[in-house]
């Protein structure tokens, strides 16, 4: 399932780039992160409990940064495993300067397999949209916070 969009942040590209490429700051943005370890600058691991209302969906996710062209492009692969669910996500974003602010184009290809994927296919789309909204909102705040520090 593919989702994409565009967003503008009232912050310089360098700062947005830093937030997006700093695992620790990304951890703040992701939903339901319970623990987060950085293996190296390309590999991270997170244990999350994605809030789904009916009870959280626990996943342990391995992130790998598969491509990076500072300061305008990065590609991230995330593979999550949990009881009854397998999540596979490939995301990429392009940053460009838009007079002082930063424009981000992003796209993600999300795949959920396992019983949860089959049972939940009915509601998968709205749920993914929901999570994306949350992440982007959190990203706004994170960037705001980061720029206020500087």
């Amino acid at each position: 399932m593919k989702v994409d969009g565009a967003r503008t942040f009232a912050a310089p590209r360098r700062l947005v780039w830093e937030v997006l490429n700093d695992p620790k700051q990304m951890a703040e943005v992701m939903p339901g992160v319970e623990s987060f370890d950085v293996e190296d600058d390309r590999h991270w691991r997170a244990h999350v409990k994605i809030p789904l209302g009916l009870g959280g969906l626990r996943l342990s996710i391995n992130f790998e940064k598969t491509e990076e062209r500072e300061p305008d492009f990065a590609r991230l692969h995330a593979k999550g495993t949990g009881v009854g669910a397998l999540m596979d996500m490939d995301t990429q974003f392009h940053l460009s300067e838009a007079d002082g602010a930063t424009a981000m184009r992003w796209e993600a290809d999300v795949r959920v397999a396992g019983p949860v994927g089959s049972m939940g296919q009915r509601v998968l789309q709205p749920i993914v949209n929901q999570q994306v909204k949350n992440v982007l909102a959190a990203l706004d705040q994170q960037i705001a916070r980061a720029s206020s520090k500087t």
Binding site: A113, G114, P115, S118, Q121
Partner: protein, 828 residues
């Protein structure tokens, strides 16, 4: 083209029929019901054994992936876990299942658990056994399996493309079997035609009968005798044993199959030998009985789907008066990830090559491919259903495009009753039937005469009304020789079934049969036949419930499948009972001092002298004498056992492998269905407002039971035509893995159903009866035809798929031209 009926090459033997008035043909109450209505049946999951372990299968979440690592240690450490089984152990301790297909298709390696690679979502990868069901499930969650995902193959039309990834490397392609079927003179028919109707593509969707009881087993291993006792709901133990014994590297006698009550099968419980082997290995490894209960989701994702089939480049030469001269088509059958009963589906359809029609020039290019979906297997109407739907769809599209009345074109092209027995272009012999008479009845039942008025009335309510007709040829009693048309090396032909009937020491009449009934009332109908012959009542006949290899009343083809019990099962019962009757008469004659058995007869539980009915010997005395007092008998009578075993063998011949020609099955029951739908043009929602089904299965042993089969089969085909389908997403996840998304007809969904019957006795069977029960397919055709008829008023779209949920009907309404583009008519 020839319109004359060719006589069978080898005339079939016609068995004598002395069907006396009595219990045959009566609605005798079912023996099975007493226990079933009290919840006292014994279904497989009701079987319990001391120390029994519960098994849970870890299943693949991927449609296609390499298994790179399996770690069961965390699961094994969990308290209450007895042990596990993984693919490597299976590969080391058992062999891949025997393959029906010739090479290269036959190079498929199918083990009891995935070995190195998974090929469909839900494929069993690891088996975990624990002290409770819940613990087994907990432990399964602790098993770690790493996969390297591979590109899944999901589109049957692209599977054969060399650019497509392979499922089974050893096969070298995704083609399991392919062959040409060429009958009559198709080119001459084309030259002779006034018009040629072409249809680019028709699609028969995946679905299955989804029996309410899922598969399961309790397997015990006796270490002393190295023998397994398999309590299961497998419906074809004969086939399961042939598949399992070599895989387990043992003789057939090491596999004892036991079943009592089975909660529906419809063919879907034929191919459980795969899981059964895993359970056998586990029971031996853990030294304890194991219980496996398949859950609904497992059944939908990994049990046995009905074959999906695509019909391409269809070409139909027609005379301007609507006479159909033949057809040509390319057919691609999708059998899913593994070939278990397949590729038998590649030949079973040929039992009904021309359907109920007289076209005699037929050319079919048939290919079966494998894909990363659930394996397919027999499903009520197995392989014929897809083909018959195709023939009915073709007839209706031709009528629709040439402006011929659907009733008229059928009447013109139906095989006529005076042509029976009718030999088809491929050498099958339709034993009897009167399709036109069935159609007349079906139309009368839905009051077809008043249909125009009802159409106007529906229009007034903003609805589009449509009428449709469908047919089924329920071919029964397979000739397994047809398998040699697929693979000349196979050593299968004919068919058989076994029954024993004995008179026991206190005069009890005890019957055992080799079949595995799942609701077909074998106990009752067998008792009717025995009672009829022995001159007692069905209540006095004890028919053992279910199946047990230890009864020694089974043979290689024993089971309940392919519409054959009324012929094979009851044929065996009749044979054994005739033998017993003769022995009872011998005892009677000897004791009553009659000259010969011709001087005595059986009546009311006695052997009586014809000349003096007072001189009578009760059955009880016969049983007592032979079993416990045989010294009173003259020497010549001491060989009598009053325990008679009979193997019914149908009069099949070997087919001609090269010409793909011969009699592939013994009987042809038929059903003609008529259906009236009302479509809401705003939403595509439709309702079946009237429905009739007329059945002809020859002599009806128990009319109520026959009618019950008609009702049930119809409900299943209405489900298949409307909401029942097994679609996959682009990653190969099944989208309808449960009854929430896979909507089967509920009581509220079923239309009022009217049934009728015609009795055309089969000249080829012991009782003039025909196997029946797979008649449902007609409903799919009838609904499709009715929809096309209703939508004719809305842009004349073509109904091209067997499955028509509301969304598809709405698409047809929204964009009729898209489907119309599938069809062209040409003046020849």
């Amino acid at each position: 083209m020839s319109e004359t009926t060719v006589a069978p090459e080898h005339p079939l033997t016609v068995e004598e029929q002395e069907v006396k008035p009595g219990f045959i043909g009566q609605n005798v109450p079912r023996k099975e019901d007493q226990r079933l209505v009290q919840g006292e049946g014994v279904f497989v999951d009701d079987v319990k054994r001391h120390g029994m372990a519960y098994v849970h299968f870890v299943r693949s979440p991927y449609a296609h992936a390499a298994i790179t690592r399996i770690d069961v240690s965390k699961a094994a450490e969990l308290e209450g876990v007895y042990g596990t089984l993984i693919g490597e152990e299976v590969a080391a301790t058992s062999d891949p299942f025997f393959q029906i297909a010739p090479p290269p298709g036959g190079h498929v390696k199918d083990f009891a658990l995935a070995v190195g690679r998974v090929r469909h979502v839900g494929e069993p990868v690891v088996a975990v056994a624990a002290v409770t069901r819940e613990l087994a499930r907990d432990a399964a969650d602790l098993v770690e399996v790493d996969y390297e995902p591979l590109e899944p193959v999901l589109d049957p039309e692209r599977a054969a493309d060399p650019a497509t990834p392979l499922l089974h490397d050893d096969v070298g392609s995704n083609v399991i079997w392919s062959g040409e079927f060429d009958y009559g003179d198709y080119d001459a028919a084309l030259a002779d035609a006034d018009k040629v109707v072409r249809i680019k593509r028709l699609h028969f969707d995946r679905f299955s009968s989804t029996p309410l009881e899922t598969s399961g087993a309790v397997v015990e291993y006796n270490r002393g005798t190295a023998q397994w006792t398999i309590h299961s709901n497998n419906q074809f133990p004969g086939f399961a044993q042939i598949m399992m014994a070599p895989a387990l590297r043992v003789g057939i006698d090491k596999l004892r199959f036991v079943s009592q009550d089975i909660g529906g099968g419809f063919g879907n419980k034929i191919c459980t030998h795969v899981q059964l082997v895993a359970l056998c290995l586990l029971a031996r490894k853990l030294k304890r009985p194991v219980n496996w209960t398949e859950w609904r989701t497992d059944q939908h994702t990994a049990n046995s789907h009905g074959n999906e089939r695509v019909f391409l480049d269809v070409e139909v030469p027609v005379k301007s008066d609507g006479t159909l001269l033949g057809f040509r088509a390319r057919m691609i059958d999708d059998c899913g990830a593994y070939t278990r009963y397949e590729p038998l589906g590649c030949i079973i359809w040929a039992q009904v090559t021309p359907g109920v029609y007289r076209w005699r020039n037929i050319r079919v290019d048939f290919t079966q491919v494998c894909t990363n979906k659930s394996p397919c297997g027999p499903n009520r109407g197995y392989s014929r259903m897809q083909h018959l739907w195709f023939t009915e769809r073709v007839i209706d599209i031709v009528a629709h495009e040439l402006g011929i009345d659907p009733v008229e074109i059928r009447k013109r092209n139906y095989i006529r009753s005076d042509e029976m027995p009718y030999e088809t272009p491929n050498g099958c012999v339709y034993d009897s039937g009167d399709y036109a008479a069935c159609l007349d009845q079906a139309l009368a039942l839905i009051e077809y005469d008043g249909i125009d008025e009802r159409r106007r009335d529906a229009e007034a309510r903003g609805k589009l009304l449509g009428v449709g007709i469908g047919s089924t040829l329920d071919s029964g009693t397979n000739n397994f020789g047809q398998s040699t048309i697929l693979n000349p090396e196979l050593q299968f032909s004919g068919n058989n079934e076994v029954a024993t009937v004995k008179l026991d020491i206190f005069g009890e009449i005890v019957v055992t049969i080799g079949t595995t009934p799942q609701g077909q009332s074998h106990e009752t109908t067998a008792a009717q036949v025995v009672a009829e012959i022995l001159g007692v009542t069905p209540d006095e006949v004890n028919v053992r419930a279910g199946h047990d290899s230890y009864w020694n009343s089974h043979a290689g083809f024993s089971g309940t499948y392919a519409s054959q019990f009324a012929v094979t099962g009851l044929g065996a019962v009749k044979g054994a009972t005739d033998m017993l009757a003769e022995e009872i008469k011998q005892i009677g004659a000897a004791v009553l001092g009659a000259e010969s058995t011709d001087d005595v007869h059986l009546e009311g539980g006695f052997v009586k002298r014809n000349d003096n009915p007072e001189a009578a010997l009760p059955f009880m005395a016969c049983g007592a004498i032979v079993n416990a007092n045989n010294a009173v008998l003259p020497m010549e009578a001491r060989s009598i056992t009053l325990n008679c075993r009979y193997v019914y063998v149908p009069p099949h011949q070997l087919p001609d492998k090269e010409r793909k020609y011969g009699n592939l099955t013994l009987t042809y029951a038929n059903q003609i269905h008529a259906c009236v739908v009302e479509v809401d043009p705003e939403t595509g929602v439709y309702e079946i407002v009237d429905y009739s089904a007329v059945d002809d299965c020859g002599i009806r042993i128990n009319p109520q039971i026959v009618e019950g089969q008609v009702h049930g089969a119809t409900a299943q085909s209405i489900g298949a035509a409307t909401h029942e389908t097994f679609p996959y997403d682009e990653d190969g996840n099944l989208l309808t893995p449960n009854f929430y998304d896979y909507h089967v007809p509920h009581a509220l969904d079923m239309p009022p159903m009217k049934t009728g019957y015609v009795e055309s006795p089969s000249p080829f069977t012991p009782l003039g009866a025909k196997g029946m029960g797979e008649g449902g397919g007609a409903g799919i055709s009838a609904v499709c035809a009715a929809l096309q008829n209703a939508l004719a008023a809305a842009g004349r779209p073509i109904v091209y798929d067997s499955s028509n949920p509301y969304k598809r009907v709405w698409e047809l309404l929204r964009n009729p031209d898209e489907s119309r583009a599938l069809v062209t008519v040409e003046d020849a």
